[in-house]
Amino acid sequence: MSDAILATTDLSRRFGGLMAVASVAIELHRGKLHAVLGPNGAGKTTLINLLSGDLPSSRGSIRYKGDDITRLSPDRRSRIGIGRSYQKTNIFQAFTAFENCRLAAQSRAPRPLAIATDALRHTPVCDAARKALAAAGLAERGEWIASTLSHGEQRQLEIAMVLATAPEVLLLDEPLAGMGAEEARRMVELLKKITPEHAILLVEHDMDAVFAVADVITVMVNGQVLESGEPAQIRASPAVRAAYLGEDAGAGDLTERGSRA
């Protein structure tokens, strides 16, 4: 618990009768990638929304670097270093890819009173944006309007925008969904490269990717944490296999059966 940069206790969220997330305790550590697995409707996206502040929690608390941020607004949480991407692409469709990242980078140096200067001449921000674009593999797509990018490229833009805000904690909601094999491979490399300086929470269905990058894995079912631990432990765990694959889970290894079609 000691050096956890982000930790939750009894974090819950109720929608009417449904407990979407039920008293989840999860920890994120700097330099570690914590993957969250689970069938659809397990409450993974709701969990991310609670951590990012997009959704207020019904019960429990979230501590970040020792402070309680349970009541903090989404923009305040982002400013103190919690960046997130979205499962459903949520970008500035009308702007160029570069402008998307530039706006993200600008949030760290907003300079709202400098209304006489041209934002494009503010090099630190523009450089950060170009660096993020390159990191996400969109270097030559800078001038394209976001709405004209392919679905996979838009997913890359999502990641580029989060990186552009130079966060300490990254909450990634199914970043690989919709990406081609090549783009997915590049993204896994990127995740490995950036894990050392960030604390990453990765929600993802792609088993190969998860087991390739995850330091810790948590499996969630019906809003509750079924089991959490090292990848090997999760892979071998009967409870996970039963819940995840249904009752007749054979002896087969979780990864081949579970890899996404």
Binding site: S78, Q106, P110, R111, I145, M161
Partner: protein, 320 residues
Amino acid sequence: MKRSKIALLIALALLALFPLVGATFYTELVTKVMILAIFALSLDLLVGYTGLVSFGHAAYFGVGAYALALLAPKYEAANLWLTLGAAIGIAGLAALLVGMFVVRVKGIYFIMVTLAFAQMFYFVFHDTKFGRGSDGISMNFKPEATIGGVNLFDLGNPTHVYYLVLVALLAVFLFLRALLRSPFGRALQGIRSNEHRMRSLGYPVYRYKLASFAIAGALAGFAGYLSAMQFGFANPELLSWHQSGNVLLMLILGGIGSLYGAVIGAFAFVALQELYSYVTTHWQLLLGATIIALVIFLPGGLASVMGRFKRTLVGEPEDE
């Protein structure tokens, strides 16, 4: 890129030379249209660039006009610079105060709430002693524009007023163009495109929208001041919701989301009004039908105009 620069200069030259050619009536008419263009520009900052559709923007136009009328001393000329500064400040403050209420709501609520607040301002000037009642205020003396004793220009002379307003229009246009390229302006446009993502990227969206609302209010106050200065007259009808509707219409005519659109919209709207009232006394029927046709038959509705907005933003900023 070159050609649009030339077109801009031609239009500017045309406007600059107009008073020498046109008779006094037209000079004063074009002066009024330029004041309406400033008013439309101020609203475009809200509607076209921040995505806040205000249906009560005339309130701050009226506050600017009344600031001059109420501050002007009865038996001598007011100082232009002092009263102008006060008018812009008071209008901006009024927009800030109302903004605190209205910026918290979105979409249809925003439209209706801004309308209701504008009506509240209308009644303050129409009903109370402070507002001098329904017949409005007429000033005996036009403000003086003196710097160090030297009287720069005489506001009684329509040509001087024309050039003062032309300079004002240019100043507001360039100010907004610079503002929209600044980090603050870009953030506003981000809010218009995807407010939710801007918040999750760390932008205090409420404060940006409030600032935009206040700046737009201040600029509307500037236009209101000029309109009261032109004829030395302020009346509660300046704040009527028809004025708020007309300025929204100017944006639609000219094309939302482009500074040119606001200026062109103002000219097109007044030209339309003059043309129709010249044709028949029932000109409002024609104007109403035109509005309806515009909304329905404009290809792809406003999107086609919006499309132009997206592309202009994307191209070189100087494209504006």
